[in-house]
């Protein structure tokens, strides 16, 4: 005797599901089950309906990270989609960069550099006018207006970059001081995504699935961040910080309602393991968008 599974659609999912609730989505043709925190799609990637959209004028995220999280080895992962134009120039991440008396840094994407290479760089300041270019301009596959998974981290003092799970060779540039053991999440942090003032910033485009680990992921683990060129469920990799930009249970728009494409982002829930001092707050109108990694 066949069992008929109740139906829903990706835009009309129950707002307060119980663990174990299951539906067939008539628009996506996915079988979805609620695990208590996320909807999981049977036979495919983790359910992903929204990303964050930045208009490239002044919108960005401010946030906090636990002060121990990036103190030694760490890994960050984010999905990005940025156009191949000047609006793609700016800091992907920044924290207190150049701030007087503070250790700061910024991971910068320069789509319009002299060579037109779409270069990624990491600059670190010691707050006293000294800079360490820990990652000198390295060409990466951003600025193509397609979704890309970017991983940056540090292992035993050496930085590493992966683009779509493939490691990119990096070199050290100017070294006014050695930042290899610097705490990248010091107590004076002012963490931002798509920082709005540095260089040609802010970047305009999309981000999704931002995660941080308090360790250096292995090449094998980085390969697990994507599946069929889409974001994977990160639960088994146990990130300390994991923001899903509209797809975590409890994510809201600025009016306190459920996320919908075009809504200004409100509360974002950290699905990572840390329970304090891991926040992201949109500034100046970052919106949910239905353009997600495919």
């Amino acid at each position: 005797m066949p069992t008929t599974i109740p139906t829903t659609t990706s835009s009309t999912r129950p707002g307060s599901p119980s663990t174990g609730d299951a539906y067939f989505e008539t628009d996506t043709k996915n079988y979805i089950i609620y695990d208590g925190a996320n909807w999981r799609s049977f036979g495919s990637n983790i359910s992903n309906r929204f990303s964050a959209f930045y208009d490239g004028t002044d919108d960005h995220f401010t946030g906090t990270l636990p002060t121990t999280l990036m103190s030694s080895d760490f890994t960050t992962s984010i999905w990005l989609k940025v156009p191949g134009s000047a609006v793609a120039d700016g800091a992907i991440y920044a924290n207190n960069y150049s701030a007087s008396g503070k250790l700061g840094w910024r991971l910068y994407f320069d789509n319009q550099d002299a060579s037109g290479n779409g270069n990624l760089s990491l600059w670190v300041s010691d707050g006293s006018g000294n800079f360490d270019n820990a990652i000198a301009n390295v060409s990466i596959n951003l600025g193509s207006n397609s979704w890309t998974n970017l991983v940056w981290g540090r292992s035993s003092g050496t930085h590493f970059v992966y683009v779509n799970a493939s490691q990119v060779t990096i070199t050290q540039g100017t070294q006014g001081f050695n930042s290899s053991t610097s705490n990248f999440a010091d107590s004076n942090q002012a963490f931002k995504i798509f920082e709005e003032t540095i260089g040609g910033g802010p970047i305009g485009g999309y981000t999704d699935e931002f995660a941080v680990w308090d360790r250096a992921l292995s090449t094998s683990e980085i390969g697990q961040l994507k599946k069929n060129d889409k974001p994977s469920d990160l639960s088994s990799l146990a990130p300390e910080v994991w923001f899903r930009f509209g797809d975590a249970n409890g994510d809201q728009d600025s009016g306190g309602g459920s996320p919908a494409s075009g809504d200004t982002i409100g509360t974002l829930v950290n699905l990572g393991s840390v329970t304090t001092n891991a926040t992201l707050t949109q500034q100046n109108g970052v919106q949910y968008n239905s353009d997600v990694p495919v």
Partner: protein
């Protein structure tokens, strides 16, 4: 659809942040010399911006890409 208006920095005190997308005076982006900033909104132009030139998204991006608004030094 969002619309953008450039204002002088000394006009920030007149901005009703409930009617624009910007969060507060502390999150505004200023021109390189600090004399100008801008706000964005959806729908009708708020009354406190009456008389200000309105820009589309594409138009304001062109303005912001000039040296008046963007410091080309990435360091």
């Amino acid at each position: 659809m969002r619309t953008y208006c450039i204002i002088n920095s000394d006009e920030v005190s007149s901005v009703d942040f409930d009617q624009v997308q910007e969060t507060s005076a502390d999150t505004l982006r200023y021109s390189v010399d600090g004399t100008k900033t801008f706000v964005k909104y959806e729908g009708d132009q708020p009354s406190f911006l009456s008389g200000k030139t309105e820009y589309t998204h594409a138009e304001i991006l062109e303005v912001l890409a000039t040296d008046e608004w963007t410091n080309p030094d990435p360091i």
